[in-house]
Symmetry: C2
Subunit: 320 residues, 2 copies
């Protein structure tokens, strides 16, 4: 919805200006999904474009992985609003030099990600293009959508899974090395958190977002939409062991490395304060409390009680 | 649906092979839209990718026209199944050199096409890309969808509007000339035939498709899906006057020129034989009877009773 303030970042500014152009025609641009109503049901819809050289490189990923990852990124938007995946539409752009085996492998990757999320691939389009590009439009049922706005002071701030894998993989590739398998898998075959989303929704999650721009960036969006602030206890941020190793090598705190890692597709949510640790231990993936929502706007990060400076998020529309 | 045979053409072969890869995951690839059910309602969904240098050129069209045309192409898929447009999602890829004015103009064009069709732009994604690309995913209500299959021997074969404008525009540009305004408008700002689709559905249209690959190509898809043949009375094909002029200049019969013009976004439908000419005269745009559905497979074209050879359709995945 246009009345939801968006977080900072040049890409968001651009989308916001696009949204302003559409004026009252535009809906839901402040959430991971837009919502439409059909037959009394609420449907969540989202689209996610992956472009060669911007979101992936062919010397890093196999075509099937490119397809899987692109579809997972779109499906994660459904998880972020606690929607049940139904359908996926795929647009594929391919250089003329690519043969059918590339189309097939990409289609298999997209199909696998859709099947893993319980969605059907219902349609597609195919065009020649100078770069490989994969655009996935996803549709899900959202009987009780969780939005970015809605976090209240006192809410427990939680994140699913362990962070840092995608950045560790990215840095290894950029240094001309093959990433460690645990890091590579987190980048090449991310798992949208549909089961965790169902769990968090059942625990009355008040606001939710998926971690695509990095923990700090996406937390900023959630706080801006909810018109609240937060304290972030950085030592609690769950970090993948191979990411800790990579951070140590850079002389960077592990939490800082994990907090600037994007395309994690984990979920960040604000839960009512009465949801206990014991209850959270029943989640289908680890759910970690990493802070608390506060009335005062802004994000205050502390390590062992000391204020620390946060990394800024990243923006794929800026220089690579 | 995968049980619907697709017509010929290398792009369709590729999509068919993609569909086979998705096996039972894939639905509706034989129609202009796929169909999903939500809350007891049938929704039609489709996606249409437009790529610079493949579907449009910037020296031919203004950014707002590129946006309008890309959205109209997607919305026309909804008209082709007699669905009422609800929502549009837009993915935009843009070279880094392009400024905000290009984003704004494209967004305005897409927004105008959506508004003209009664749809809301509900979401979008934006990425850097080497070429300009516009991918539109559309969702509509289809309480009584009209499919490609369903044409019966004896049905009247009809087409909306007048054909040939887009090809006349294309040939003028390719010859380094500015197209005549009537031809240019048909290419730059096509009108998806939603009102005509409603009319044809109300007259019990048994099969329908939009003319995107050219009359001959799309009629082939409809006949293949319906497992029937047809006689096409080529002298009845409605031709735009400027297209007649262009055909004369090429020494080509006007009907032939019109029959190979693609991206028309007119509708081709099979109507029960009891729908009268008088009734058809009430349509919101001209509806012309151009032939009859027959049991014998294949397409038989006649001019003044003499058999004539048809042009083949075109395929944008082949050489430009």
């Amino acid at each position: 919805m246009l009345d939801t303030p968006l977080g900072a970042g040049p890409e968001f500014d651009r989308i916001r200006r696009m949204a302003e152009r559409w004026r009252e025609r535009a809906h839901g641009l402040g959430d991971d999904c837009a919502f439409i109503e059909a037959g009394g049901e609420i449907l969540a819809v989202s689209v996610d474009l992956s472009v060669e050289g911007v979101h992936f490189r062919r010397d890093w990923l196999q075509p099937a992985e490119i397809g899987y990852r692109a579809a997972a990124a779109a499906l994660s938007d459904l998880a972020a609003v606690a929607a049940e995946p139904m359908a996926l539409l795929l647009s594929l752009g391919m250089p003329a030099k690519d043969g059918d085996e590339v189309v097939h492998a990409l289609a298999d990757g997209v199909g696998d990600a859709a099947a893993d999320a319980g969605a059907l691939v219902v349609g597609g389009d195919l065009s020649r293009a100078d770069q490989l590009l994969v655009d996935c439009c996803v549709i899900g049922r959202a009987p009780a959508p969780v939005r970015r706005r809605g976090a209240k002071p006192g809410d427990r701030l939680v994140v699913t899974g362990v962070l840092g894998g995608p950045l560790a993989a990215l840095l290894a590739w950029r240094a001309g090395q093959e990433p460690r398998p645990e890091a590579r898998t987190r980048f090449a075959r991310p798992s949208p958190r549909h089961a965790a989303a169902r769990f968090l929704a059942s625990r009355r999650a008040r606001a939710m977002i998926d971690v695509s721009d990095g923990l700090v960036g996406d937390l900023g969006h959630l706080l801006a939409a909810s018109e609240v602030g937060a304290s972030l206890w950085v030592d609690r941020i769950p970090v993948l062991p191979v990411a800790e190793t990579a951070a140590t090598r850079l002389g960077e705190p592990a939490w800082r490395f994990a907090a600037r890692s994007g395309e994690e597709y984990e979920l960040l949510a604000a839960l009512p304060s009465d949801v206990t640790d014991e209850d959270l231990s029943r989640a289908p993936v680890p759910v970690t409390v990493i802070g608390v929502i506060e009335e005062t706007p802004g994000l205050r990060a502390t390590s062992s009680g000391q204020a620390v400076t946060l990394p800024t998020g990243y923006d794929h529309f800026g220089p690579a």
